[in-house]
Symmetry: C2
DNA sequence: GTCTATAACCGGATAGAC
DNA sequence: GTCTATCCGGTTATAGAC
């Protein structure tokens, strides 16, 4: 059970077809299992996440999971779908909340910040998603990848708009830029501890700054670059 | 079996105590198993890497691994040690190869580039190392972490020197900066394909540029930031 | 809806032949 | 040094009680 993101209500992510469980009681339980699964996958990775540990985390028994999910694979696929959906929805919501007058650069910066915010707020789902990337079986990857690509394409449009407006260098490899920023953000839950020197907000500032302006000063010492 | 880094000979990483196998024949086999294990761990993660698959990749049988390694855990621990050692050694070698007159900023840029170069050149070992981070059992992590910390401390010194010289903003959280850059680099092997728009060299340029100067232009469109 | 029990399988580790 | 055979523990999935 991970802490939800504090202030802003998130746009609800549409879930794919639910097999059983019409009652709200069962629906809640299913969500709890999903959340527990994300946590365990984040801890143990794809192969290491056992139904027994997921069940314990969700306060139930391994066998009971099969009432809510067809198989272990189906459960994990939904964990991943849910995780990507959370990031996408939060990022899009934050960008769309901006005034129409916001510059493309501001939109892009907002998206980067939003992505990292979600990584920090939903660290179970977020870590699960990045852990699962490159580990799930090919057929599953193919299905989940559709959602991932949609998110990637959304970010790419923001980057392209900033480039078209001349606010970022139009010559950069935009897809590589996107993946470098996402990579930096996705690694954060692995090392960030709230007690450290920076707060989550400051960390978001630093990532945006790195991407946009870098940390270098104008000054150069005498030696050649 | 991963492609070694092309031109530059790497400083040899000192390996910890070798239990059996004095003969050069056995030593080669052991290295081959180590390399195979890195590849399989990169693919399957900590829990998913089976001895059978490692053995197949190394051209031997699961049982035979126990002649060279005490246990699966010992093997994986050495995979990780080896991986971190490769990065550390390569980065340090590249920085030390610079002329004495090189500025702190140049040293730092060289280190960032070197780290990413190694991620690309040794993608099996590199991916294995980042996959293993946060997945290995606590006692193992404690031992391996000593090496990781040494590498981190080395990078921190480079960052601190650049800050002291006024070449990067002394006010930034240096440890967070380091982890963001490392995160961006460590994610690269998951998505980079040599056929894409950028070459490995261009990707290194982009990461260094992001860290140092960012991709933004001076220009700002009318809207407020 | 959830539990317990169990079938079928798989992976790590060891023993002993060669 | 490497192989094959085997033991043991743990994992998914299902059956059936409640």
């Amino acid at each position: 059970m991970s802490a939800r993101l504090n202030p802003r209500p998130l746009a609800r992510v549409p879930e794919p077809a639910v097999p059983h469980s019409r009652t709200p009681r069962a629906e809640r339980k299913k969500l709890r299992i999903l959340d527990a699964a994300a946590e365990v996958v984040a801890r143990r990775g794809y192969a290491g996440a056992t139904l027994a540990e997921i069940a314990a985390e969700a306060g139930t028994q391994a066998g009971s999971i099969y009432y809510h999910f067809e198989s272990r694979e189906a459960l994990i696929e939904e964990v991943m779908r849910h995780g990507v959906g959370l990031s996408f929805a939060h990022t899009r919501a934050c960008v769309e909340r901006l005034p129409r007058s916001a510059s493309p650069r501001t939109r892009l910066e907002t998206a980067i910040r939003a992505h990292l915010e979600m990584m920090l707020a939903e660290s179970g789902n977020a870590r699960a998603t990045s852990r699962l990337t490159g580990q799930i079986p090919p057929e599953m990857w193919q299905r989940v990848n559709a959602v991932m690509r949609a998110y990637g394409a959304y970010l790419d449009r923001l980057i392209a708009a900033a480039a078209a407006a001349g606010e970022i260098d139009p010559a950069i490899d935009r897809s590589a830029f996107r993946m470098l920023v996402i990579g930096a953000a996705n690694w954060v839950p692995e090392w960030f501890r709230p007690n450290g020197r920076s707060s989550p907000g400051q960390l978001c500032d630093l990532l945006v700054r790195m991407a946009m302006e870098g940390v270098a000063t104008r000054r150069r010492s005498r030696a050649a670059a």
